[in-house]
Amino acid sequence: MPRRRAAAMVVGAGLLFVVGTSVQAGWLLVLASILLGAALVGLLLPRRMVRGLQVERRSPSEASQGDDVLVEVIVANRGRGVKLGLEVEDTHVANARVSVPPLAPGERVVIGTVRRAARRGLQEDTPVRIRSAAPFGVAESRRRLEVPGRTLVLPALVRLPSTPLVDASPTPEHAIHSAPRRGTGPEYLGIREYRVGDSMRHVHWPSTARHGQVMVREFEQEHTRRLAIVVDTLADAGEEETPLDTACSVAASVAFSALGRGHGVRLLAAREGSVDALMRAEPPHLLEWLAELPAFGGLALAQMLPELGARLRGVQTVLLAVPTWRANAGLPDAVAAVQAVAPRVAAALIEAHGFPADRRAPVMSEREADRLAEGLLARGVAVYRVRAKEDLAACLARPTVLAS
């Protein structure tokens, strides 16, 4: 592809030719020939520069969003001539454009670049673009090479020291349900007389000696509190960190916090027009599920919530991770369907208008986001507002209070 320099050289040669012809000066025609000849060679030689190259890539198999990742690009010259002026553009994990030093035949160069994993998701077999304008910068030749390599960028995980989402028990219903019951859990509840069927392992020998009859230890029934996180995948926008990425980070961070406190976690999201659920979310699988969660799942949250009834059975808390797309304006009305099956509903509103501008995205304005938050609060939904560039832990530490 010719560059501007090619046009400049041709125009310069044309001017020299016209002036040289006008004044019958042969040296000007020589200069014009030099310009045109160099332009001609400059148009043809870059093709040779990008031929006979082999490119490989080495990158970690996993990384977290926001991490700096070392990616190595290996360029080998398998051709016959020296390769000059090579530039490699690699979009694996993040876009990186690097210059390759001149490569003699049979030479190999390993270029390490540190890239910030700005987006979550699977980066697999991303192509590498090689270009060269050498030797004269008159034209540029490009090649696109499929380079194998796989890196899964997991959502950014934030440690949440305390969040009411998993710590608090704000409703009477919860208190009832949380009263201890006898069972076979790990928590010690007390001592009682032996009954047929009790395990001999639970015999409490000091008390048996003291009471003169066999006494056994009694345990609290194991009771798992369950948290469901619904991620809105209706849309996404932007190039760097996006609202959906932040929603996934919220989901991952809250899920890890809950798992650390012994809660069971379910993840739900729309995928290809139907609801996809990860019913028993465990750490590695949970992160992979969120990392590979694509945007444009085909269902608005308002359509999705009424279908969640069976999947929310036994769940105490439902967290909605919702970017403030305009399509979610009707969320306060739809949330009743969730409140019918789960005692406690919270919403993390990811304020999409604060992310890098994308005019195509149907983003709520700040005022519309305020109205959405008020609507949810009015229906007893705990609202956490997450803004771009703000500390996620701080955003999730305290719910928004309804303005009087």
Partner: protein, 734 residues
């Protein structure tokens, strides 16, 4: 955030300012480029001394200053430079105020360019500014080239071109701010040394560039210039002709030269044909000194003097009267009257500029017929034959221009020139020596026998002379009392241009055709680089002019031929001249036996080509056969290069790989068979029912390759069958 806000209210950031250029090699190369261009301009004496010295000293200082100050705003410097620019412009305007021709404005103009370059060199912080410097150096080179007369300009052009190539290479690389800074770069060599490879590539790139430049140079047309309205004329050192009264004075000849005087031989720097007589007894050689360079759109004979009376040994002019022509006060040119004998043929207007390089007689040489002359004197003289004389000698450094109307005649026009001659013209231009031997007339009759028109008679004589006489500068002087033309035609048959032209004039006059002898210079040799025709002392020449009724005088050169008045398209390209020059050079350095062998080979090739053309179907069939053999040989070589065909499980794996490649999933180089299999399964290319067969193939292949034990033939056959089933299953529409 700084930037512009569009109609949708989105703030668009401003384009970031280009950061300063830190590369010292790039700056050094640009500085060297500018210096070479500056020296080239100074070497052409295109600037005054102050500008030359100032430029040479200040430009390097400016580039150093720019590098040191590249990260600063330099507001004060910019103000000073702006003031300096205005001063340079003022100086230029002052200089051109009194210039009367474009040529006179060249020193102020070159000085302005140099000062612009000097001032610019103090403010080149960015790569873009350096590019401007390179363009500026190209302008300086163009100016120097336009003023250069010789190939000495190559001394500047070669290094400038090399530096420009280096600049093109360095500046095409991305700037440091355009690419990411790598964390590390490690190089590994698998074979050979890097330096020879770089050397080879540099040589190959240079050769490719030179080839392309040469090809472009050869195909670039040489069109006649059309935009210069006032051709240049100037004199550096005017030496007046003492006692000038219209006569020709040749400073290289002794004072005794002239009619009735002793024979004056050729001096190395003086042609005796410029004066009052052309004595055919004169001998000698002229030097190869360049006497003038001619800037002209086409080659022509540079006409000097005309002689009409032949006495058997020498030519003289019967009419020595001259007429003085005054300069036009408006455009400072001399209007030359049209030839008295008429001007009936179509003409082609050419503007020719003569750059005199050595002292010559006071003849204003020009292509026939001059119409307008730009000459640095107040008046000129013209004789009865249309020859121009100047009151000063032609001296080194003199420049003059002539606008000529060159008659464009064709055989048809000349054959159609039927009419009667003016009686006075016939008397003057058919004069012959009284004692001319009869055999000369008889020879003329014999040569022109059968020719009806004047043109056919002229061509018959010219052809006869070209076929039957030989050009030789070393012929002995003819004996005293012998007619020089008769002796040349019947005894010696060898001689030089004066003899050959005189013979033509005598033979034509014997047939009653008005003819006259002309002396001047041949067109010279065109320098392919400068475009100038370089006329040497040895190009001094004699030819004839023949009068056609109603048409006028038409030149004929029986020795070398007259350059065509209408060169046509082929004459607009320099390639034929360059090829001829290369051929001449090769011939000059090649021993005669090799040349003879080459000529024989050329004749054989020409004969073979004629044979091929005659039997073209056989030639086409043979060529087709050769191409077919070549294709087969290449294919065979390729098949051999692939090694023996695989057998056993390897053949099965190859079959499997090809089948999957046809489905759009070729095995990548880095993939092991197992990875390949996993990949095609994951990508859904391999349907589930074909997986067991594919796995069987892969396992058999791995066993064969890695177990160290030969695979039993039946298992190899099973693997091949499994691969075939996979292939068949993939080929079947799902």
């Amino acid at each position: 955030m700084s930037g512009t806000t569009d109609r949708a209210g989105v703030v668009r950031p401003r384009r970031p300012k280009e950061p300063p250029e830190d590369s010292i090699p790039l700056r050094a190369i640009v500085g060297a480029l500018v210096m070479v261009a500056l020296v080239a301009v100074v070497a052409q004496r295109a600037t005054d001394a102050f500008t030359s010295v100032g430029g040479l000293l200040l430009v390097p200082a400016g580039y150093v200053f720019s590098y040191v100050q590249r990260r600063k705003a330099n507001v004060a410097t910019k103000v000073v430079l702006a003031v300096g620019l205005l001063a340079a412009l003022g100086s230029f305007l002052q200089g051109v105020r009194f210039a009367e021709t474009v040529d006179e404005a060249r020193i102020p103009l070159a000085s302005l360019f140099v000062w612009v370059q000097v001032l610019h060199s103090f403010d080149v912080p960015r790569r873009r500014d350096l590019a401007f410097s390179v363009v500026s150096s190209l302008i300086l080179m163009a100016e120097a080239g336009a003023l250069s007369f010789g190939t000495g300009f190559l001394v500047f052009l070669v290094p400038w071109t090399a530096l420009a190539g280096a600049w093109l290479y360095l500046s095409q690389r991305p700037a440091t701010h355009e690419v990411a800074e790598p964390a590390f770069v490690r190089r590994f060599r698998e074979r050979g040394g890097a330096a020879p490879a770089f050397g080879r590539s540099l040589v190959a790139a240079t050769a490719a560039t030179l080839t392309a430049v040469s090809a472009v140079f050869l195909v670039l047309p040489r069109l006649p210039g059309a935009f210069v309205r006032l051709p240049p004329f100037a004199v550096r050192n005017a030496v007046a002709v003492e006692g000038f009264a219209g006569q020709v004075l040749n400073p290289g000849l002794p004072a005794s030269a002239g009619p009735g005087g002793p024979v004056v031989d050729f001096a190395p720097t003086a042609y005796p044909g410029f004066g009052s007589t052309v004595d055919l007894r004169a001998r000698g050689r002229l030097s190869d000194r360049i006497v003038m360079r001619v800037r002209t759109p086409q080659a022509a004979l540079w006409r000097g003097q005309v002689y009409d009376t032949f006495d058997g040994t020498a030519w003289t002019a019967s009419d020595t009267q001259t007429q003085t022509i005054g300069q036009d006060s408006i455009d400072q040119s001399f209007a030359i009257p049209a030839p008295a004998e008429g001007f009936g043929a179509p003409t082609r207007r050419i503007v020719t500029t003569f750059y005199v390089a050595g002292r010559e007689p006071n003849i204003v040489f020009s292509a026939f017929a001059p119409e307008q002359v730009f000459f640095p004197t107040a008046n000129l003289s013209i004789d009865a034959y249309g020859s121009l004389r100047s009151p000063i000698y032609l001296e080194d450094g003199m420049v003059y221009s002539v606008v000529s109307q060159v008659p464009v005649t064709t055989p048809a026009i000349l054959r159609g020139a039927i009419g009667t001659y003016d009686a006075a013209a016939v008397r003057r231009y058919t004069q012959l020596p009284n004692d001319l031997p009869e055999r000369d007339v008889a020879l003329a009759d014999r040569i022109t026998g059968g020719a009806v028109t004047t043109y056919d008679k002229v061509m018959a004589v010219q052809r006869w002379l070209q076929r039957n006489t030989t050009y030789n500068l070393d012929v002995p002087r003819q004996p005293p009392g012998v007619d020089a033309v008769d002796w040349f035609l019947f005894d010696e048959r060898e001689g030089f241009c004066e003899h050959i032209a005189s013979a033509m004039a005598v033979l034509l006059r014997a047939e009653g055709i008005p003819t006259r002898l002309v002396t001047g210079f041949g067109p010279g040799e065109r320098n392919p680089f400068t475009g100038y025709y370089e006329v040497r002392e040895a190009d001094a020449h004699a030819w004839v002019e023949v009068l056609y009724p109603g048409i006028g005088w038409v030149p004929y050169d029986p020795t070398f031929g007259v350059p065509p008045a209408d060169p046509g398209l082929g004459g607009r390209f320099i390639a034929p001249e360059v090829i001829r020059a290369v051929g001449r050079f090769l011939a000059s350095i090649t021993p005669e036996p090799v040349r003879a062998a080459g000529r024989a080979a050329g004749r054989a090739i020409a004969t073979a080509a004629q044979g091929v053309l005659a039997a073209w179907p056989v030639a086409v069939a043979g060529l087709g056969g050769l191409i077919a053999i070549g294709v087969l040989a290449r294919r065979r070589k390729r098949v051999r290069g692939q090694g023996p065909s695989p057998t056993g499980a390897a053949a099965a794996f190859v079959t499997l790989s090809r089948a999957l490649a046809e489905e759009g999933r070729a095995r990548r180089d880095h993939e092991t068979p197992e990875e390949f299999l996993t990949g095609v399964r994951r990508e859904g290319i391999l349907v589930q029912e074909a997986v067991p067969d594919a796995e069987a193939v892969v396992r058999a292949f791995e066993w064969e390759r890695f177990s160290g034990v030969d695979l039993p033939p039946e298992q190899a056959a099973d693997a091949l069958a499994a691969a075939a089933r996979v292939h068949e299953r993939l080929a079947r529409p799902s």
